[in-house]
C-alpha cells in the first residue's frame, strides 16, 4: 500500500501515523508539506492529528483552505481513500468532505485517555479487520471532539450506515456514561457516502503495539494494508 501523510505547520501526530502505516504496510509513507500542490499517486491519503496552523480561528479551518487540500479533494473525488484522524477529522468536516462539525468537548476540557469504540460497519478497507459489534480500545487526545450535526444529517448518516465507530463501554454499551465528549449519538467516526473517506477522533495509531498502548488500533492498519495493498 502506498500512502501519503499530509503535514501542516502544527501537525504533531504525523510521526505516530507514519510509524503505524509503515509497520502495517512495509512501505514508508510519503510526507507531503501543506504548501505543495503536487500530491503523488497513492492508495491512501492520511490527514494526521495535531494543531494545524495552531487551530487558531477554528480547529481545522485554516488547513481546509491550504494549497494541498485542493489536491486531496481532487484525489478523494477520484475515489482514492482518505483517513482523517483527530485534527484530520476536523479538517475533513471543514472542507465539506464529511458532514457535521467537531465542537468543544462537552466538559470544555482537553481529554487524553483510552476509550472504547464499538465498530458499526466493516465492509470498507478501513474496518475490514474488525467484526460488527467488536469493541476496540484506543486513546483520545482532543479538546474539540464533540461531534455535531443536525437531526436530519444524523438520521441520514444512520440510514446510510455511515457511522463507523461509536464511543461505548468495555462491554459495548453505547450510552451517555461512556460518551467522553458529548458527541451526538456517541459518534466517534463517520464515512462519506461511498465509504472511501473515514474521519475519526480517536487515535488508532497510538494503539498498535502490545506494550505501548495495546493493539486496539492494529487491525485498522493491517486491514488497510491488506485491502489497498492488493489494489496497488
Amino acid at each position: 500500500m502506498k500512502s501519503a501523510v499530509i503535514v501542516f505547520p502544527g501537525s504533531n501526530r504525523e510521526r505516530d501515523m507514519v510509524m503505524a502505516l509503515a509497520a502495517a504496510s512495509g512501505e514508508k509513507p510519503v510526507e507531503v508539506w501543506h504548501g505543495d500542490t503536487d500530491l503523488p499517486k497513492v492508495d491512501l491519503i492520511v490527514i494526521p492529528g495535531g494543531f494545524s496552523y495552531g487551530d487558531y480561528l477554528r480547529s481545522g479551518c485554516m488547513a481546509a483552505h491550504s494549497p494541498i487540500i485542493h489536491e486531496v479533494k481532487a484525489e478523494a473525488e477520484r475515489g482514492v481513500h482518505v483517513l482523517g484522524v483527530c485534527n484530520g477529522f476536523q479538517v475533513l468536516t471543514e472542507t465539506g468532505l464529511l458532514p457535521g462539525a467537531l465542537m468543544r468537548n462537552a466538559r470544555l476540557k482537553f481529554i487524553c485517555r483510552d476509550v472504547h469504540l464499538r465498530v458499526e460497519r466493516t465492509d470498507t478497507p478501513f474496518m475490514n479487520g474488525y467484526n460488527v459489534g467488536d469493541v476496540m480500545r484506543v486513546p483520545v487526545a482532543h479538546h474539540d471532539g464533540n461531534y455535531f450535526a443536525d437531526e436530519a444529517t444524523l438520521d441520514e448518516l444512520e440510514a446510510e450506515n455511515r457511522v463507523a465507530v461509536r464511543y461505548c463501554g468495555p462491554d459495548g454499551a453505547v450510552d451517555d456514561a461512556n460518551n467522553p465528549n458529548g458527541s451526538q449519538r456517541n459518534i466517534a467516526g463517520i464515512y462519506n457516502k461511498r465509504g472511501t473517506i473515514l474521519g475519526m477522533m480517536p487515535h488508532p495509531e497510538n494503539a498498535v503495539e502490545t506494550l505501548v498502548g495495546g493493539l486496539g488500533g492494529k487491525p485498522l492498519f493491517d486491514g488497510l494494508a491488506g485491502a489497498l495493498g492488493e489494489a496497488a
Binding site: 505547520p9 502544527g10 504533531n12 501526530r13 510521526r15 505516530d16 510509524m19 503505524a20 492529528g49 495535531g50 494543531f51 496552523y53 495552531g54 487551530d55 487558531y56 476540557k109 482537553f110 481529554i111 487524553c112 485517555r113 486513546p139 487526545a141 479538546h143 487515535h203 495509531e205 497510538n206 506494550l211 505501548v212 498502548g213
Partner: protein, 731 residues
C-alpha cells in the same frame, strides 16, 4: 533620557551598593537602557547571587555526564551515541498572577532550553504546589495552571507524562509551577551557547518582539504584596504553535553544520541571551535594534532589550551561511533577521536609529555580578515522635479511605487527563505510576522520569528533606526498573535575606549533596526561585527534584498493577523487617491525628542504595512482576494504589499487634512492595543481599481485607478518584 534618581534605581531592584559597582565598572552614569540591562543581569533570577556559593558545593560529575550545570540544560550519555538533555525550571511568580499564561510560558521556556542544545523534546513533567483547597483563589489557580500546561504542551506535541501536585496553606499566596523537559540528542550534535569568531553574524529567529514581559526577571526576584495583581503586564503571552515551528526549524538547521552558537531568549530576553553568549565565548557583540523584528512600532531600546516576548532564539552562524539558514526559517514561516555581528572589543554595543543606545563592557558586567554569603541560621532540630504518642486509628481501613481521599493523596487523574501524554507514540508507562517511562524512538531503550519533593519534611528538617527528595526520585526510577542517571534541582524558597530561610536553603543543599554523593546521582542542571513570599509569609522550603533514569530494554519495565489474583505480596526493605514505625510528619499524622509535628523520617542512604540495587537487579532478572515504592502514606497506601491500578483486591496479613497504625502508615524510607514469579528465590536472594523480604498479603478478590474487615475497591476508588473532580466541579 530620564535622570537616574535613587527612586529609579530602587524600582530596578538594585541596591545602593550595586549601583556604586555599576558606576565603578562604567566610569560614568549609566543611561536608563543600560541601567535596565544591569537590573536584569544582576537580578536574583539571572545571577543566582544568593545561591551561587552553595550551589557550587553540589556534585555535578560522573562518567556519564556530558554537560553539567551552567548551560541551558544538563546532558547525560545514554549509549549508542545518544544523550538525554533535561532541566526543570520554575515559573512561580507569573503563574500566580496569570495562571494560564504563566504556566504555559513556563512550559515553553523549558522546552526551548532543551531544544536549544540540539535535542528533540520527548517528555514534559511538572511539579505543582497550590494553597489550601479552602483558599478562595485555589480553584482558579489550579484550573488555569493545568489548562495552561496542557494548552501549550498538547499543541507543541510533546507528551506530558507525569508530575506531582500538593496543596498546603503555605502556598496560598505563592503557588509553585515547576516544569521539566527531557529531550534526546545525538552526542556529536550538541549545541552550546559560547559565541566565537569576530565578524560572525548574529541572527534572530522566531516570534517578533513586543512589549510583553518587560522586567519579568526582576519581578521574579522580589516578594509579593497586595498589589501583585498590578504586575500582570509583566507576564508573557505564549504561542505554542510558533514554538512547534521553532522546534522543527531549529532541529532542521541543526542538521546542517552552520551554527556556531545558539541560545534561547528566556528571562531578560535579548539582553541576557546576547550577554551570555558573548561572555561565555569571550567576544564582543554589536546589535542594531532597527533590524530586530518588532510586533509594534515605536518601541524603545529599553523595551527591545528587556522584552520577554516568547518563542525567540538568538544564534551565531558561520559566515556566508546566512541564506541557507534563512531558507529553513522561511519554510517554517518564522521571522529571520541578521541583527548584528560579533566583535573582538569585549563590549556590547547597541545601536538604534544610528545612535548608540548602550555601550557596556561584557566581562566586568557578567563576572562582577554580585555574589552574597547571606547570613543563615540552621533549622532547630525537631523532636522524634514515638509511634505510641500518635493516636491510633480505631479502624485502619477507615483511616486508609480518609487518607486516599485527601487532597494530597487523591488521584490526580483530573489533571493528567488534560495533558496529551501519548503523542509521539512512545509512552510505555503513563502518569499515575512511580515514574513515567518513554521509549527512545526506534530503539529498545527507554528513559524513566520522575519529579519528587516532600516539603513538610523539608520544613521540619531541611537536611533530611533534601536527602529524601533525591532518594525518592532514585527509588521511583528504580521501581520501574531504570538505572538512575542524574537529577535537575528546582530550589523554591522564601526570602533569602532572612537568616532562617537562608538556613533552609543551606540545609536542603547539604541534604541533596549527601544523597547525590551516596547514590552516584549528580546534579546536571537546575534553577533557583527565591522570594516566594507574600506579605512576609514564606512557602514551605521546596527543593523539587526531577530525575532521569535509563532502561536498556523497555520491555523489562514493571508497573504497580498486580499481574493476577493469588499472588503473594512482599515488603522489601531493611534487614530484620521493614515494617513502618515513623509517624512524625507523616500523612497519617496530618490527616488522621490532625497534627504536623516532629522530625521527618531519617534517610539512611546506604540502606537506600542497598535495597534499591537489589530491587533493580531483580527487575532486570525478570523476577519481579509488579513493584511500587513506599512514600507518602506508607505501606497501606501503597498496597491500595497497587490494588486500584489492577482492580484486584488484596488480603493484608501479618499485621503486628503493637502500634499497627505505625506499621500501616509509617513513612520509613527505602522500602518497596513487589509481586514476583518465584517467592522462594526472592527470599533467598534477599538473604544473600542482606535485605528483608517479608510476605504481607495475597492478591485476590475485590476488596482490601485486614483483620477480618474489608474495604471494597469500588468504595476506595470512588473516594480516591472523587475528591479532585468534585472539588474542581464545585467551582
Amino acid at each position: 533620557m530620564s535622570e537616574i534618581t535613587p527612586d529609579v534605581i530602587a524600582e530596578h531592584g538594585l541596591s545602593g551598593e550595586e549601583y556604586d559597582k555599576i558606576l565603578e565598572i562604567l566610569g560614568r552614569e549609566p543611561n536608563l537602557t543600560e541601567l535596565g540591562v544591569f537590573s536584569v543581569m544582576w537580578s536574583e533570577h539571572c545571577s543566582y547571587k544568593s545561591s551561587k556559593k552553595w550551589l557550587k558545593t553540589l556534585p555535578t560529575e560522573a562518567p556519564w555526564v556530558i554537560c553539567g550545570p551552567g548551560e541551558n540544560a544538563g546532558i547525560v550519555d545514554i549509549g549508542d551515541g545518544q544523550a538525554a538533555v533535561f532541566k526543570m525550571e520554575s515559573h512561580n511568580h507569573p503563574s500566580y498572577i496569570e495562571p494560564y499564561q504563566g504556566a504555559a510560558t513556563g512550559v515553553g521556556g523549558i522546552l526551548r532550553d532543551v531544544f536549544t542544545m540540539g535535542a528533540r523534546p520527548v517528555a514534559n513533567m511538572n511539579a505543582l504546589r497550590f494553597g489550601s483547597p479552602d483558599h478562595p483563589k485555589t480553584r482558579h489557580l489550579v484550573s488555569g495552571v493545568v489548562a495552561g500546561i496542557g494548552g501549550y504542551g498538547n499543541c507543541v506535541g510533546v507528551p506530558t507524562v507525569g508530575g506531582e501536585c500538593n496543596f498546603h496553606p503555605a502556598y496560598d499566596g505563592n503557588i509553585l509551577v515547576n516544569a521539566m523537559t527531557v529531550g534526546i540528542a545525538e552526542t556529536d550534535k550538541i549545541f552550546y551557547s559560547a559565541a566565537t569568531g569576530a565578524g560572525n553574524p548574529v541572527v534572530y529567529v522566531g516570534s517578533k518582539t513586543g512589549r510583553d514581559g518587560i522586567h519579568g526577571a526582576t519581578m521574579a526576584s522580589a516578594e509579593f504584596s497586595e498589589d501583585s495583581e498590578e504586575k500582570r503586564p509583566t507576564v508573557q503571552v505564549g504561542d505554542p504553535f510558533t514554538e512547534k515551528l521553532l522546534i522543527e526549524a531549529c532541529l532542521e538547521l541543526m542538521d546542517t553544520d552552520i551554527i556556531v552558537a545558539i541560545q534561547d531568549m528566556g528571562a531578560a530576553g535579548l539582553t541576557s541571551s546576547s550577554f551570555e553568549m558573548a561572555s561565555k565565548g569571550g567576544v564582543g557583540v554589536e546589535l542594531d535594534l532597527d533590524q530586530v523584528p518588532a510586533r509594534e512600532e515605536g518601541m524603545t531600546a529599553y523595551e527591545f532589550l528587556l522584552s520577554e516576548s516568547q518563542e525567540r532564539m538568538l544564534m551565531v552562524l558561520k559566515p556566508g551561511e546566512e541564506d541557507t539558514a534563512r531558507k529553513i526559517f522561511e519554510k517554517w514561516e518564522l521571522d529571520f533577521a541578521i541583527v548584528g555581528h560579533l566583535t573582538d572589543t569585549g563590549r556590547m554595543v547597541i545601536r538604534e536609529k544610528g545612535e548608540i543606545a548602550a555601550d557596556l563592557p561584557i566581562d566586568p558586567l557578567a563576572l562582577a555580578s554580585p555574589e552574597y554569603d547571606r547570613p543563615w541560621e540552621p533549622t532547630p532540630a525537631a523532636a522524634v515522635i514515638k509511634a505510641e504518642d500518635v493516636p491510633a486509628a480505631e479502624n485502619l481501613l477507615d483511616a486508609l479511605k480518609t487518607i486516599m481521599a485527601s487532597p494530597d493523596m487523591c488521584s490526580k487523574r483530573w489533571i493528567w487527563e488534560q495533558y496529551d501524554h501519548l503523542v509521539m507514540g512512545d509512552t510505555v508507562q503513563r502518569p499515575g505510576g512511580d515514574a513515567a517511562v518513554v521509549r527512545v524512538q526506534n530503539t529498545q531503550k527507554a528513559l524513566a522520569v520522575t519529579t519528587d519533593c516532600t516539603p513538610r519534611y523539608c520544613l521540619a528538617d531541611p537536611v533530611q528533606g533534601g536527602r529524601q527528595a533525591v532518594a525518592e526520585t532514585w527509588r521511583n526510577l528504580t521501581a520501574v526498573g531504570a538505572t538512575p542517571l542524574a537529577i535537575t534541582d528546582n530550589m523554591n524558597f522564601g526570602n533569602p535575606e532572612r537568616p532562617h530561610i537562608m538556613g533552609q536553603f543551606v540545609g536542603a543543599i547539604e541534604g541533596i549533596r549527601d544523597a547525590c554523593n551516596a547514590l552516584d546521582f549528580p546534579v546536571v542542571s537546575g534553577n533557583v526561585s527565591l522570594y516566594n513570599e507574600t506579605n512576609g509569609e514564606a512557602i514551605l522550603p521546596t527543593p523539587a527534584i526531577g530525575a532521569v533514569g535509563l532502561l536498556a530494554d523497555y520491555t523489562k519495565t514493571v508497573g504497580l498493577a498486580f499481574p493476577a489474583e493469588g499472588e503473594t505480596l512482599y515488603l522489601v526493605g531493611k534487614a530484620g523487617g521493614a515494617g513502618g514505625a515513623h509517624l512524625g510528619q507523616s500523612i497519617y499524622q496530618r490527616e488522621i491525628a490532625g497534627e504536623e509535628t516532629g522530625a521527618p523520617p531519617p534517610v539512611d542512604l546506604e540502606l537506600e542504595r542497598q535495597v534499591g540495587d537489589f530491587i533493580r537487579a531483580q527487575i532486570d532478572y525478570g523476577q519481579i512482576t509488579a513493584c511500587h515504592d513506599l512514600s507518602d502514606g506508607g505501606l497501606l497506601v501503597s498496597v491500595a494504589e497497587m490494588a486500584l491500578a489492577s482492580s484486584i483486591g488484596v488480603s493484608v496479613e501479618n499485621v503486628p499487634s503493637e502500634n499497627p497504625h505505625a506499621w500501616a502508615f509509617g513513612e520509613d524510607q527505602a522500602r518497596y512492595l513487589v509481586t514476583v514469579k518465584d517467592g522462594a528465590a526472592l527470599a533467598a536472594a534477599g538473604e544473600a543481599a542482606g535485605v528483608s523480604v517479608q510476605a504481607i498479603g495475597t492478591t485476590g478478590g475485590s476488596a482490601i481485607t485486614l483483620g477480618g474487615e474489608a474495604l471494597s475497591l469500588e468504595a476506595l476508588r470512588m473516594a480516591h478518584e472523587g475528591w479532585l473532580p468534585g472539588y474542581m466541579g464545585a467551582a
